[in-house]
Amino acid sequence: MYVAVKGGERAIDNAHRWLEDERRGDRKVTDLSVDQIKTQLSLSIAKVMAEGSLFDPELASLAIKQARGDLIEAIFLIRAYRTTLPRFGFGQPINTDKMIAKRRISATFKDIPGGQLLGPTFDYTHRLLDFKLLADGSIDEFEPGKDTEQMFQHVTQFLNNEGIIETEETSSSEAESPDLTRQPLEIPANRALRLQALTRSDEGFLLGMAYSTQRGFGRNHPFVGELRIGLISVEFEIPEIGFNIEIAEIEISECETVNQFLGSKTHPPKFTRGYGFVFGQSERKAISMALVDRALRWKELGEVSDGAPAQDEEFVLYHGDNIQATGFVEHIKLPHYVDFQAELELIRKIRKTAFEAKKG
């Protein structure tokens, strides 16, 4: 006699214990510390903080450790934690003019006031495996020069002085910048909401979308007006005392693109902008974000859409979130046998009818 399968609970407990064991790995090797992750895997941390929408390197490191280096799993841990935190207000708009930049480059001008500052970039490294790191990780300390301690005016400002690039409008109220994590996403979304969705979107998704615009699916002729990475302060107005106080200093990447624009029925020819802003050192994503932002702006600039995926707000905003995507894609591994059974019965019935019709 067949007895219905029991023991789901014990199976789950065992799976969790096995998972923990595998996470720890070979006990002869030193346990990886959260500090090591925090100080030596900072680009992974940037991704987890950006897509987890929580700036906290310590928690991001912990999540990466717990997730065995699976960054989407780590982002998920951060998101699930973040959602339990109370939201206590609306911060002051961040002024990136005041950034202390460690990297700042422009592709549109040969030289710029303050100079091009390469900073700690992979850009001109030769991608050769450094076998020395297998044996010895000791590296001389580097002392950056004085030029890394100044603030720079934005490069696009020089174009703006000439009136040849559109002026960005700032939004400073909550009504203009709704919170994606506290309200359901509704389409059409304003630019503030789109940018929120993009900055927490999956880097790979945005990269693919941005790449598709460069290959002709919604081309928007971008130049990197400026890319900058560095520290900025976050301020919050405390109503009781009536002025702003600095509550954090965070590292961010910002990319402003300058895009060709030949004019439309509603707008004269001038340069337009795409904007990317991401937590941490994450310039691939900042550039991608700027391209996709610009692609999504066709309607407000009076352009005609090519019908390209990157121009489709509903497509981009609904599918860029890797936590939503991974959950739903992976959920098909859950039991679906009740539905499968219903399909089985249906197919059997239709086949039977078809065979009988053939015979008859």
Partner: protein, 278 residues
């Protein structure tokens, strides 16, 4: 507020979030079958694994409630176990496998065989709340279609099914019309379960977390499966008998029991099957 685990608020969600969900639930009850947008939160389980149902359950639970969780009709499927354990941990409520003893039942893919009562709430986990989604992928379009009660596309789809296959080829998530107004997705339950929704005494609540939608069927509300006069809706099941309890009127699982592919059939609703056996 008493917690089984001090780090969490009762039933995990903070009170503001619960209030937001309850507002959406009340709106949903007032407009049967209408999909109410709500600010779904990230939950500590993945999207697609019942986050909508879990949020609805969390917003409904009180300390005196008795919770039952089923997946595929059974209390012992892994995800049902996982969700039940979650609420034991964060709400400390009593749980049960007995359908009649539960005040809140969270389900994925089935409606219990036992007729529910006025004292019960049935919470469905919903993956895709939009019944028109696979006819029209854009939410911006489908919301207008519902607003205008423009359901021609759905009827054309059902008609085409009949002209190609001789019958409506939807076996689960079979669309229903609620209170003569909204077409609604019953969640991916087999169409065998659809008639149980009609004039059901219990409150039926539907939560779609990833899609940020809540909808509801109030007690004793008309829920009709879409069909045509000459092709009436039929609640189909495997024409077999449960080999454990002998039931002939329940929805059955088909289980492969050896390498030769021999099949056996048994009730999908494990609690119902146990109750018939004894």
């Amino acid at each position: 507020m008493s917690n089984s685990e001090e780090d969490f608020n009762f039933a995990y969600l903070d009170e503001q979030t619960k209030r937001m969900i309850r507002r959406a639930l009340i709106k949903a009850i007032c407009i049967p079958g209408y999909q109410v947008p709500f600010a779904s939160r990230e939950m500590p389980m993945p999207y697609g694994w019942g986050t909508g149902g879990v949020q609805v359950t969390a917003a409904c639970l009180q300390e005196t409630d008795v919770l039952k969780v089923i997946d595929q009709g059974s209390d012992d499927t892994t995800n049902a176990v996982s969700i039940r354990k979650f609420f034991e941990r964060v709400a400390g409520v009593k749980t049960t496998e007995n359908t009649g003893k539960a005040s809140v039942i969270q389900t994925r893919h089935r409606i219990p065989e036992q007729v529910l009562s006025e004292d019960q709430i049935l919470v469905y986990q919903v993956p895709i709340p939009e019944p028109l989604r696979f006819l029209e992928p854009r939410e911006t379009e489908t919301r207008v279609m519902h607003a205008l009660e423009e359901y021609g596309l759905m009827h054309v789809k059902l008609y085409e099914d009949i002209s190609i296959n001789g019958e409506i080829s939807t076996a689960y998530a079979y669309p229903v019309k609620v209170n003569d107004r909204y077409i609604m997705d019953p969640s991916p339950t087999p169409k065998f379960d659809n008639p149980k929704m009609n004039f059901c005494p219990a409150i039926q609540l539907f939560g779609a977390g990833r899609e940020q939608r809540i909808y509801a069927v109030p007690p004793y509300t008309k829920v009709i499966s879409l069909d045509f006069e000459d092709y009436p809706f039929e609640a189909s099941r495997a024409e077999k008998t449960c080999e454990i309890c002998g039931a002939t009127n329940t929805y059955l699982d088909e289980v492969v029991i050896d390498d030769k592919g021999t099949r056996m059939f048994s009730c999908s609703d494990s609690d119902y099957c146990n109750s018939q056996k004894s």
